[in-house]
């Protein structure tokens, strides 16, 4: 059969965000792949250099729509560390609660998307319905469904009232039951298993050398989790486990994510039940002393790293954002070569790609037509090996 170039994206039903793959297939099998991910740049890193910390936080929060709290927390954590500000325990607990609720809703969203990619729309509808319960909780606690805007340098913006805590706790049993249902579905539904098992396999060595992070790496038996490795907030005080799996394929990643939903639920419940009293913010100076920090954080998709340098003013000298999706791309390209075309959506979705956060950096929105006069091919051999 002759080789066919199948363009996937930037507008394609499988992709929820703009990215472009030019998949070269031999019949149904992928033999080569070109990647273009620069469609939604907003110049956040440059813009962050022009604003003071108070104005940077909402901006940083908008790096990503799903892990908005992650980026805001990792940034304020870094700035607080440079300033030497210790945030009060109650604020740490509240940050943890929001962070874990965010992880729950992100993984539920992913599970739905993954099911949709293989045409299993029933699971998609169910998970997204149950995700609403998490989003409602987040809305009750923070006032917003997506961009919670809970962080400020030195603490959190809003306190939780006892009735809010009670209402949030009341939702937990239902969610617990739903998570059990998902575990059953993922392990029993044959057609879904045939699409997930053995697809996108990544060995432990490959996962490490391709720099995979988060559930993608943990499904291959890599037990890196910033929450355990470099504990921040209250993760060293509360009981929880790093979820790993040895399957290394999409099935493994699904299992890891469902396991993490359950773990997150436990963390949220523990934090809500043991919420300490006291103030919710510490007095933070306006300007940060000159310094530099590599602030790391375990976002739902994996490790987020902010490299922050301050210069004694109320603005950052430089903030370098490394998002989990960029770290995972190399492994995706490796997984795709040699697979049937039908596996593209599954493998791409399995890392839970968040493309807008990956390509956040430049200033002019790229609207370039990359169709016919595309650049010379930069196949996976060009950048993954």
């Amino acid at each position: 059969m002759t080789r066919i170039v199948v363009p996937i994206g930037p507008q394609h039903p499988a992709l929820k965000e703009p990215v472009n793959f030019r998949v070269v297939t031999d019949g149904e099998r992928i033999v080569d792949l070109e990647l273009n991910l620069s469609y939604s740049h907003r110049g956040i890193e440059k813009a962050a250099e022009q604003r003071d910390f108070i104005r940077v936080l909402p901006l940083i929060e908008r790096v990503c729509g799903i892990c908005s709290h992650s980026h805001a927390t990792v940034f304020s954590k870094g700035i607080e560390e440079i300033m030497g500000v210790e945030i009060p325990p109650r604020a740490q607990y509240i940050r943890t609660i929001i962070a874990e609720l965010e992880r729950m809703h992100s993984h539920m969203l992913w599970l739905g998307v993954a099911a949709h990619e293989v045409g299993f729309n029933t699971l998609f509808m169910w998970t997204w319905r149950d995700r609403e319960a998490v989003l409602d909780t987040l809305e009750e606690l923070s006032g917003n469904r997506v961009h919670y805007n809970m962080n400020e340098i030195g603490g959190v913006r809003l306190d939780l009232s006892p009735s809010q805590v009670e209402a949030a706790l009341a939702r937990m049993p239902v969610l617990e039951e739903r998570i059990r249902a998902y575990v059953g579905m993922v392990e029993d539904e044959e057609t879904m298993l045939t699409r997930f098992r053995g697809v996108g396999s990544l060995s432990r060595e490959e996962a490490l050398s391709f720099g995979a992070v988060g559930p993608t790496a943990r499904a291959s038996g890599v037990d890196y989790d910033v929450r355990k490795d470099d504990p921040y907030l209250v993760y060293d005080e509360i009981p929880w486990n790093v979820v790993t799996d040895t399957n290394g394929d999409v099935y493994g990643r699904t299992k890891v994510r469902i396991g993490e939903i359950a773990e997150s639920l436990g963390i949220v419940r523990h934090c809500l039940e043991n919420l300490p009293g006291g103030p919710i913010r510490a007095e933070a100076p306006k300007a940060a002393p000159p310094g530099e920090i590599l602030s790391r954080y375990e976002a739902p998709r994996g490790e987020v790293a902010h490299f922050i340098r301050t210069n004694g003013t109320a603005r950052v000298e430089r903030v370098d954002i490394r998002t989990p999706t960029l770290a995972n791309w190399t492994s995706v390209a490796h997984c795709l070569i040699g697979r049937p075309l039908a596996d593209v959506p599954v493998i791409v979705a399995a890392i839970d790609p968040c493309l807008s956060c990956t390509s956040r950096i430049t200033l002019v929105k790229s609207g370039g037509d990359l169709g016919k006069d595309a650049p010379p091919p930069n196949g996976p051999r060009g950048w993954s090996r």
């Binding site: 991910l37 720099g211 960029l326």
Partner: protein, 161 residues
């Protein structure tokens, strides 16, 4: 879990190929080196400490030079940052993408935004910027400002052809 790395341990491992070694923060050790020594240091950090994963390559434009920070981590869960300074007028350095496959994407990104050239990179093409972005403008450099009248791509005005 392996014990965290100590300052002395890192200093011993990179002795002879690197400059100053200091503690950047509680969980991070910085190794300074030159662009000639970079690959040796990375190799030693990779094999002797050992570090098995590249966290990120951070870049800072300090207006005097361009700094590259290679953050590596291993089972010891200590971040080792290898720092190199490059002159702003000719920022060139050997690639490490053959030692660390995941570096290739970060290097493309840095090449795009700071104009750093990674010699020996298998495909140093645009990753972040659009293809009709001017070749010699690197937006994350401190002194970059959009030049009025320059075409930065997008749907507004098409270039010739």
């Amino acid at each position: 879990m392996i014990e965290p790395l100590t300052l002395d341990g890192v200093a011993n491992a990179v002795a002879g190929v690197a400059g100053a070694v200091d503690k950047a923060s509680t969980n991070r050790i910085r190794v300074r080196t030159t662009r000639e020594g970079l690959r040796d240091v990375i190799r030693r950090v990779q094999w002797l400490l050992p570090c098995d994963r590249l966290v990120s390559i951070s870049t800072v434009d300090t207006t005097e030079s361009i700094e590259l920070h290679y953050h590596l981590i291993g089972q010891h869960r200590t971040v080792v940052t290898v720092t190199v300074e490059l002159p702003r007028d000719a920022p060139e350095i050997e690639t490490v993408s053959d030692l660390l496959p995941s570096a290739a994407l970060y290097e493309r990104q840095i090449h795009d935004l700071f104009g750093v050239v990674f010699r020996g990179h298998p495909g140093l093409t645009r990753l972040i910027l659009n293809d009709d972005w001017p070749r010699d403008e690197h937006p994350l450099r401190k002194d970059w400002k959009p030049v009025a009248g320059t075409f930065y791509g997008g749907a507004g005005r098409r270039g010739p052809g």
